[in-house]
Each structure stands twice: as structure tokens, then as C-alpha cells.
């Protein structure tokens, strides 16, 4: 058994590497750019390691910034793979079933980025082993951060192992054994919701921060995730459709579009509810929202960002809703990129930074990320893109080959 595994595993890995590092000139340039950005990120991080987090733009008032903003947003993107798995496995949608593997690749890339952003944000990264349950001290179940560590790593395992198993079987020309992996697929549906609710609870559970301490934060996270995540998956699918031989049926684009529109509309509704709560009867607790939307005492760095985000968000949802191009990728692509960007603003810096301004003592400051922070962020984003590429490219090869050999996969 072990020998056959070795016999099958080694060529699998070899082939995967071969597929990943070969390709057209354009693809190789793309990889080189990613490497260059990763080097930039690595260099910026070494500066942060030697100087301390003073190299970033964070302070005792805005103690979380670009890193945690990106982490928060990307957990949502990772959870959004469930928006493909749910219809594929529970509603037995054959169209979406074909692209589940791509969704999972995106999820893994997003999750790797999340974990890296947390690590980059730590003041004492070499002491991260203090978190490990047996050798360190793990404050579970009291600390929501402890919960987050568990659910994120669990989700990563689910999203790596299940597709790996399926792909491995397909690579060797056989059907994966359904009863081995299907329970985990169903588990991953609920786990996806869990990772994003737990991440939302990180902020929701802090009475010290009234901007975050509201029960709508968890559901809002899910709604925005299920709009932004599928938007990204849509972009990835369009790229695959255009640049590879793996063709995506327009039905898939339509279904994804509908998912995005529904989730995006719910997200906007929740935004409206939050705005009403903060501004109908403003209290001292509304100051964070005032800072975000209108600026406070001359500090208004985020004001243009949030209004841009809301405008782009609304526009994108309306366009996707009315579907003027009838699922034409030429229209879908830029609109989805716009929506992704808009939600990245509102859920990243538009959530984290206002939650910390004003401070619990009412003190106001501005935050802008330093070059080190931006460098590390770019590096991690490049690494995540690289991971997604590394996972999807061999997956496409394997799936294409399997489909040619066996007709439609189960």
C-alpha cells in the first residue's frame, strides 16, 4: 500500500511541479513578477524584524492596521469557497461542481495569506510557539483569537486535504471514494461559515470598541464575503477561460453572478442598517462612524475611501443585477474587480481603523501605512497569488485529463 502510494505520489508531485513552472512566456513573466514582489515583501519584513513594529504606521491608538485589515478581508474570501461547494454538493448543481476545485484553490491561497498577515503583524513572531497547545499555553475557550487559530488551521487542512485527495485520484485515473471525502465536504460548508463568524467575533466581542460591538458584524461579514469571494472566483474563472484550454460554461458565470448579487444586496442592506443606527440618534459611540464617513476634528483620511467604496459597491451590484452584457466576461471582469476592491476597502481599512479611532479615551489620530507595511502586504499578496496559481494550474491539467478519459466527473 505504502509502496504504491510512493509510486503514485512521487510522479504526482513531479508532474505538479512541472506543470507549475512551465508555460508560455507570459506565464513565466507573471511568475517572475510574483517572485520579485515576494522579494520586496521579504526585504520589507526584515526591516520590520530589526526595527520592531515602529517601522509600520501603527501606534498605541491605531494598534491594528493594514495587516489585520487584509487578514479580516481575506478570511471572507477564503470562506467564500463554500458558495461553490454548497450548490455543488447539496443542491447537486453539475455546473458549479466542475469549478469547485478552483474555488478551493482560491480558498487555500486566501487562507495562507491570512495566516501570513497574522504572523507579519505579531510583535514577537519567533515566540509564536507560545500559542501551541502542548508546548505553550493556549487560552481556549476563553480567547476568541485561540478559536480563530483552531478554525483557520482546520479549514486550511480541509481545503488542502480534500481537493488533494480528489486530484490525486483523478491524476491516477480513478474515481475518488465518495464516502471518504464527502463528510469532510459537508463539514467544510459549516466550517467555512464558522471561520468567518469566529473572525467576526474577534471584533464583535469587544465592548471596548462600540463600532465593532454590534450583533450585525458576524452576518455582515458573511454577506460581504459571499459577495467578494465569488467575485474573485469569477475573475479567476474568466482568466482561466481566456488563457487556458479549460472552458467555463456561461451558466456558471450566471450562477456566480446571482450569488454575488444576492449576497451583495444583503451586504448593502446591512450597511444601511448600520448607518441608520449610528446617525439617526448619534451617541458618543457613533464617533467612529463619524470619523469614517465625515472625518473628526480635521482627521479625515478615510472619508474619500469609504465613499468611493460605497459608490463602487452600489454601482457594481446594480450592473451585475441588471446584467447588461448577458454574462459577457468583458463586462463581468471589470465589474467584479471593482466590487472586490470596494469590499476590500470597506471590510479592511474601513472596518479596522475606524474601530480604533477614537481611542477608548476619545483621542483621535490619523493612520497611514508606512512603506514597510505596504511592502510586506504586497509580498504576502504576491505569495498568495503564487499559491493559488500553483494549486490551480495542476488541478486544471488533472481535471481536463480526467474528463477526457472518463467523460463527466461525478
Amino acid at each position: 500500500m505504502l509502496k504504491t502510494l510512493k509510486n503514485e505520489l512521487v510522479p504526482f508531485v513531479k508532474d505538479a511541479l512541472k506543470w507549475n513552472f512551465s508555460g508560455s512566456r507570459g506565464y513565466q513573466i507573471y511568475l517572475c513578477i510574483l517572485f520579485a514582489l515576494m522579494v520586496v515583501g521579504f526585504y520589507a519584513y526584515t526591516i520590520q524584524l530589526t526595527e520592531g513594529l515602529a517601522a509600520t504606521g501603527m501606534s498605541n491608538i491605531v494598534s491594528w492596521g493594514l495587516y489585520i485589515s487584509n487578514f479580516t478581508f481575506l478570511v471572507g474570501v477564503a470562506a467564500a469557497a463554500v458558495m461553490l461547494i454548497l450548490p455543488a454538493y447539496i443542491f447537486k448543481d453539475k455546473d458549479l461542481h466542475k469549478v469547485v476545485i478552483i474555488g478551493e484553490g482560491v480558498a487555500v491561497g486566501a487562507l495562507v495569506m491570512c495566516l501570513l498577515f497574522i504572523l507579519a503583524d505579531l510583535g514577537g513572531i519567533i515566540k509564536a510557539w507560545h500559542l501551541a497547545p502542548a508546548i505553550g499555553l493556549f487560552n481556549w475557550p476563553a480567547s476568541i483569537l485561540a478559536w480563530d487559530v483552531l478554525v483557520l488551521n482546520g479549514y486550511l487542512a480541509l481545503n488542502v486535504l480534500v481537493p488533494a485527495y480528489i486530484l490525486f485520484c483523478h491524476y491516477n485515473g480513478r474515481e475518488p471514494v465518495a464516502k471518504r471525502y464527502r463528510p469532510f465536504v459537508f463539514l467544510s460548508i459549516f466550517w467555512a461559515v464558522a471561520i468567518h463568524m469566529v473572525t467576526a467575533f474577534l471584533y464583535e466581542g469587544l465592548p471596548a470598541r462600540p463600532f465593532w460591538n454590534n450583533p450585525l458584524l458576524g452576518p455582515r461579514f458573511l454577506a460581504s464575503a459571499f459577495a467578494a469571494g465569488p467575485a474573485l472566483i469569477m475573475v479567476v474563472l474568466i482568466v482561466i477561460h481566456r488563457k487556458t484550454v479549460f472552458k467555463i460554461d456561461s451558466q456558471i458565470f450566471n450562477k456566480l453572478r446571482i450569488i454575488i448579487v444576492v449576497a451583495g444586496t444583503v451586504n448593502l442592506l446591512m450597511l444601511f442598517s448600520e448607518i441608520f443606527k449610528e446617525f439617526y440618534s448619534p451617541t458618543h459611540h457613533s464617533l467612529s462612524a463619524v470619523y469614517l464617513f465625515f472625518g473628526l476634528e480635521g482627521h479625515n483620511a478615510l472619508v474619500p475611501w469609504i465613499w468611493t467604496s460605497i459608490t463602487l459597491n452600489l454601482t457594481a451590484i446594480v450592473i451585475l443585477g441588471f446584467n447588461p452584457g448577458k454574462n459577457n466576461p468583458k463586462i463581468l471582469m471589470p465589474v467584479c474587480v471593482t466590487l472586490f476592491f470596494a469590499i476590500w476597502i470597506e471590510k479592511g481599512m474601513g472596518l479596522i481603523v475606524p474601530g480604533l479611532i477614537p481611542s477608548p479615551l476619545g483621542e483621535i489620530t490619523n493612520y497611514s501605512p508606512s512603506w514597510v507595511e505596504i511592502g510586506v502586504t504586497i509580498g504576502i499578496l504576491a505569495l498568495g497569488t503564487f499559491v493559488v496559481t500553483m494549486l490551480i494550474k495542476p488541478a486544471l491539467f488533472i481535471e481536463q485529463r480526467f474528463e477526457e478519459l472518463h467523460g463527466e466527473s461525478a
Binding site: S59, N60, A142, P183, F186, L187, F190, H299, N300, N366
Partner: protein
């Protein structure tokens, strides 16, 4: 059977979360501070401080205090020209410019603006080595609180109890408090305006980091 398989992971996750969250502190019984305080009604033996108090002469305060006898710092040893009766023998002081030389540094600014205290409001004119007036018994300089307390009786009650004034060095062990004159200049007791010892820059990380906007 198929439905059951789908339901099991759900139940596992929910059940696990319920179990785990029930272990959270919010549910378990934790006494709050007020309950702890109410329960602590028996006298507690105070710990002995490791560092001795600065060696200044102390006197025992002639006021009943809930924790037993307590001390304050002697004042007579601080006054340079004590004994006052060495100049004020009962007859007029005839030394040239003695008032400016001996008491020129005293600014009297105590009492109401339109009806301020005079020297003899507090100082005993018949016996200069004591405070008080002829109508109130002679009050020792070391026990000036008895005099201050005739007008400032609320502050005196608080000072005895501990809500006013300050302990010297230790919170534990033998209670030694500053006497009134330890903080207040008796002739001009109001704290004067001054500049603060420092200022705050709560959002600075490095000194050259500019506050944007």
C-alpha cells in the same frame, strides 16, 4: 440515511461549540469586587513593609481612627525658629526690622477674600509656642490638625479616615500620614497654579513621527 450523514457534522460542530462556550467565564460564578469587599469585614493584620520609614520624628495623632493609633510627622522640628517664645517673651519685640527679617517670607492669604484671617486667627497671642486663640485651648504645633479642623472639620474627618491627605511612603504597616502643614502652607494653604510636570503624546511611537492632520 443520506440526510442523517449530512446532519451529523452539523450536530458535531454545534454541540462542540455549545460545550466549549459553556466553559467561558461569563457563565461561571465569579464574585465581583463589591461582594468581595462586603465579605471582608474582619480586621486584617497589615503586612510589614520591607523598607523602614524615613527617620523623622513622629507624634501620635490624638484622633480615633478605625485602624487603631496612627502617627503624623512632628512639625516643631521643622520650624527653624521654634521656640517662638525666645523672641516673643510677652513684651513687644524691639529689634529693628525684626518682622521683615523673621517673618518677611510669610504671605498671609487664608480665609475669605473680604474677611481674611489675621495672625491671631490661628496663633495664640498669649503663648506664642502654641496655636489656638484664647477662646480655644492651647494647641500644640505638632497637633495643628486640631486647629485646622475647627474650621475645616470635613477635611479633618476625611484626613483621619484616609480620604484626604497622604500616607508617608507605605500603604502597609504603621500608618504615618502627612500632617496638614506637610502639604499646605498654613499661611497660604491654597495650592498655587503651576505648569504640569510633563505632557502626553499618546499616538507617538518615535519622536519625529508627525501627527498627520
Amino acid at each position: 440515511m443520506n440526510v442523517f450523514k449530512k446532519v451529523i457534522p452539523v450536530l458535531l460542530v454545534w454541540g462542540g461549540m455549545l460545550l466549549a462556550f459553556s466553559g467561558c467565564e461569563g457563565v461561571s460564578g465569579h464574585q465581583d469586587v463589591m461582594e468581595l469587599i462586603k465579605a471582608a469585614d474582619k480586621p486584617v493584620e497589615s503586612m510589614k513593609p520591607t523598607e523602614a520609614l524615613p527617620s523623622a520624628p513622629l507624634v501620635i495623632v490624638k484622633e480615633p481612627y478605625q485602624g487603631g493609633p496612627f502617627y503624623t510627622q512632628s512639625r516643631k522640628s521643622e520650624i527653624g525658629r521654634f521656640q517662638c517664645s525666645s523672641c516673643h517673651t510677652g513684651k513687644d519685640v524691639t529689634i529693628n526690622q525684626a518682622k521683615e527679617a523673621a517673618h518677611g517670607d510669610i504671605k498671609l492669604f487664608h480665609g475669605a477674600v473680604d474677611d481674611p484671617n489675621a495672625c491671631d486667627t490661628c496663633h495664640n497671642l498669649s503663648d506664642r509656642d502654641y496655636l489656638g486663640t484664647d477662646s480655644i485651648a492651647k494647641i500644640d504645633f505638632d497637633h495643628s490638625y486640631q486647629l485646622c479642623g475647627t474650621c475645616h472639620f470635613r477635611q479633618k474627618k476625611d484626613w483621619v479616615g484616609g480620604a484626604h491627605g497622604k500616607r508617608v511612603q507605605n500603604w502597609a504597616g504603621q500608618r504615618v500620614v502627612q500632617n496638614c502643614t506637610g502639604c499646605h502652607n498654613p499661611h497660604s494653604p491654597r495650592f498655587s497654579k503651576r505648569w504640569p510636570a510633563t505632557f502626553s503624546l499618546p499616538d507617538s511611537v518615535l519622536p519625529d513621527q508627525e501627527d498627520e492632520g
